[in-house]
């Protein structure tokens, strides 16, 4: 299929989102509430003290706020769509279409992140700029590197969620697996609590897993916790994870496809 087809597929999530305007409104309120509560939390934790691990309170609040905002676009729901297709058998519809299944998921996920979630994130950012003392990026280079790292984070997120979704081809349901995944992702990505606050052994585990690509790496670049040549290392790590995860996803998808069309289940 041509690019126009995939672009059209990418638009659908945006249109669907518009169909549920109340949900969008609640999304916006939810993220604002989260940003506010995290600000209150970190202010209480710091309690007028100075910098911890080189990070002072305004930097910490900036980290937490951006984590909440970028979480909107790095979190994907692609796996729930996959579960539905497997459970109700509509995967058959995807298989008789002239497109690649993974590519069609990528298209709708890109559409989701940029067209459907993007506006919510921009809104949350605008509100945060008004009411929270957001720090600018550590430097211009850090700001640009952050944007690059954020795009890579969205890609890592996509592959991770597709990986979760592929489990449905064998288990038919994802709740249990998804809970474990969400829990690991929440703690090991640094999206809720920065990794430097965690015990060293947890940090070492996080180093070995792809989750830190989702939040820790881009946000650390932004606030200057990762700087200089280490920025390149961070971006390289993300790219490497995209390579590894996409290969794993492709292999497992081939097995899933074989399972559907050969075993018929």
């Amino acid at each position: 299929m041509n690019l126009r087809g995939y672009l059209k597929l990418a638009q659908a999530p945006f249109q669907m989102r518009l169909a549920y305007r109340t949900a969008v409104l609640l999304d916006c309120l939810g993220v604002i509430l989260r940003i506010y509560l995290l600000k209150v939390f970190w202010t209480a934790v710091y309690g007028g003290g100075g910098a911890v691990e080189g990070i002072n309170l305004p930097m910490m609040v900036t980290y937490a706020t951006l984590a909440s905002i970028q979480g909107i676009v790095t979190t994907s729901y692609v796996h729930w769509g996959m579960q539905r297709r497997v459970r109700d058998g509509s995967i058959v519809i995807d298989l008789i279409r002239p497109y690649g299944f993974l590519r069609s998921l990528l298209a709708s996920s890109v559409g989701n992140s940029f067209l459907a979630d993007g506006p919510v994130a921009v809104f949350a950012l605008a509100v945060s700029l008004l009411f929270i003392n957001l720090q600018p990026p550590a430097s211009l280079a850090a700001g640009l590197a952050y944007l690059a790292s954020l795009i890579l984070a969205i890609a890592v997120g996509f592959f991770l969620y597709v990986l979760v979704g592929l489990v449905a081809f064998w288990t038919l349901e994802l709740f249990g697996f998804n809970n474990i995944f969400e829990f690991l992702s929440l703690f090991l990505s640094g999206g809720l609590i920065p990794l430097w606050f965690l015990p060293p052994w947890v940090r070492r585990i996080a180093e070995l897993l792809p989750f830190q690509s989702l939040a820790h790496l881009p946000l650390s670049i932004y606030i200057g916790k990762i700087e200089g040549a280490a920025i390149w290392m961070a971006l390289l790590k993300q790219v490497a994870w995209i390579g590894v995860l996409s290969a794993i996803v492709w292999l497992i998808w081939k097995a899933a496809e074989r399972k559907v069309i050969v075993q018929g289940g």
Binding site: M16, S90, V92, I93
Partner: protein, 343 residues
């Protein structure tokens, strides 16, 4: 010209782990590798020419969907040969995708949350349908089944009948050469069924689209299909014309009469009283007997309050076929063609 669809000794089995009953049994199930083998499609052979409209009839679980999945390439046969449009479907699935259309009655191919028109706009790009073709098709579909009034309604708000009109249009938007319709009429009311029948007949007649119409109700396809293939328990029981089938395996019809009084004895010229229940009576009569004469004869002598004419059900026809053929059904179902329904 080569046939559009060829199935030769097509066989598909499903293996499900053998379940042992009870708690200990379920633990045993976890550790054993015994399987139940279900023969979903059991050495089926037929061939379908370009432009044919074939009814693929069988009770639920007979193997209709499994066959269609193999013909569209979303299921690999366990053994046997299958060819659709000159391609082996599961090896050329995406190539074939542009040339076929499908409606799976129970599964929607439309975008649930979006107005119907959006599904067509998306599919237009997905299948690279040229603007003129898109315009022409949308116009035709509208003339046939009145799509325009539905276009701005989100799919989830459409009634089943309305949604099926949309599903049909979606399957035909890219001018496929072959369409597979798997139970497209299921659950539809009379009016909606009529809409769908007209749609199917039109695209077959006017555009020469080859249509495979799977249904569990023979009367649904009676007015559409000259040729029907009956499948039961994975095996083909009959492949031929409907007239032939009726003549051979369903030679009788039933007239159900509701009498105004409880007559002690009831007779009818040319019909056999097969059942009585108070003032109601069932008469079986040969297809060659004109029901008008039968009714006239009855109403001359009795007071009649209600009448209805019953065609044999698919189950009765299938029973009739089994009864007429003491040999194994597999022996009879070798190749396609007309009137292969006898030993």
């Amino acid at each position: 010209m080569a046939p559009m669809i060829v199935a030769q000794e097509l066989y598909r089995e499903f293996r499900t782990p053998k379940r042992h009953p009870g708690f200990l049994g379920s633990i045993r199930t976890l550790f054993t590798r015994e399987y139940n083998v279900v023969r979903a499609v059991d050495h089926v052979s037929f061939s379908i020419e370009r432009g044919e409209l074939v009814g693929y009839i069988g009770p639920n679980g007979a193997g209709k969907s499994t066959t269609i999945k193999m013909l569209t390439g979303v299921l690999v046969p366990t053994s046997g040969y299958v060819e659709t449009g000159g391609l082996v479907p599961h090896k050329h699935r995406q190539e074939l995708a542009c040339r076929i259309g499908a409606v799976f009655g129970q599964r929607s191919q439309l975008w649930w949350d979006l107005p119907l028109i959006e599904s067509f706009r998306i599919l237009k790009e997905v299948y690279r349908v040229p603007d003129e073709t898109y315009e022409r098709n949308m116009r035709t579909f509208n003339e046939l089944v009145g799509l325009d009034e539905l276009l701005n309604t989100p799919v989830r708000q459409l009634s089943l009948g309305q949604r099926m009109r949309g599903e049909m249009a979606a399957a035909l938007l890219h001018d496929p050469e072959i369409v597979f319709l798997d139970e497209p009429l299921i659950g539809l009311d009379v009016v909606a069924k009529e809409h769908m029948r007209r749609f199917i007949a039109e695209i077959n007649r006017e555009r020469g689209v080859t249509v495979i119409l799977a249904s569990n109700d023979m009367s649904d396809v009676e007015w559409l299909c000259k040729r029907i293939i009956i499948i039961d328990k994975g095996r083909i029981l009959y492949d031929g014309t409907i007239e032939e089938l009726k003549r051979r395996h369903a030679p009788y019809r039933t007239l159900v009469v509701h009498f105004g009084e409880d007559y002690p004895e009831i007779r009818a010229e040319g019909a056999e009283l097969v059942r009585r229940d108070g003032t109601r009576a069932w008469f079986r009569f040969d297809r060659t007997v004109n029901p008008q004469r039968l009714i006239a004869d009855l109403s001359e002598r009795y007071l009649i309050t209600d009448l209805s004419l019953a065609e044999p059900t698919l189950e009765e026809v299938i029973r009739g076929i089994y009864e007429a053929t003491p040999t194994s059904p597999r022996a009879r179902s070798s190749r396609g063609g007309e009137g292969k329904g006898e030993p």
